[in-house]
Symmetry: C2
Amino acid sequence: MTQTTFPTAASKHELEHGVALSPRFDANGLIAAVTTHAETGELLMLAWMNAEALAKTLETREAHYFSRSRNELWHKGATSGQIQQVVEARIDCDQDAVWLKVLPQGDGGACHTGARSCFYRIVEKDQLVRAAD
Amino acid sequence: MTQTTFPTAASKHELEHGVALSPRFDANGLIAAVTTHAETGELLMLAWMNAEALAKTLETREAHYFSRSRNELWHKGATSGQIQQVVEARIDCDQDAVWLKVLPQGDGGACHTGARSCFYRIVEKDQLVRAAD
């Protein structure tokens, strides 16, 4: 069974410099997850994880998120084929954000629009411009 | 004076494929911001922006966030010297996350712990290991 509880850091020093994974979920029980391509470094998406999604990601080495719109655990790629193999997972200084370096499977994309990355538009003044890459 | 209101997208299609910047702030009035190094691509930090922070970032081309702990606008680097010059700003498909590509000034760091990136620890099993890079 997947472990879905994590310890709470005993101090700020432990939180920032300790060796215990002590994620700080927000009031909704979520933590932000930044996902980049393990080979190109490209930012693919930003999503959310609850404790179960984080635990399943670390256990299976496939990215799991929490879908806020569907209010359920979301095994990325389970229907689209865009499974994300986790090459490395990191956590930030105050343990409220996760960074996944992944290898996207299937067609190699990450975005539901069909784009490779969700961040396909550049903000220029008040207009959005489609990025060339 | 900084514009701090943004239009609301008229439809899902406009939100995802339109040219209007229509950020979707959460219940707390915040949007996630992913910040990477413009030259190396390294993920530096994940932070939050309210409408004012986003508007000031786009206007001044220096990263502004909203500090949830201090509950105030946060001009990154104003005290530390780690000003982040914004080379490019992007927004994601459903416009609830921003990506900033920045050139960090000062000592080149981004993290209050002194690390270059906030993501200096790798999750290995249940232990956190300091990254070599």
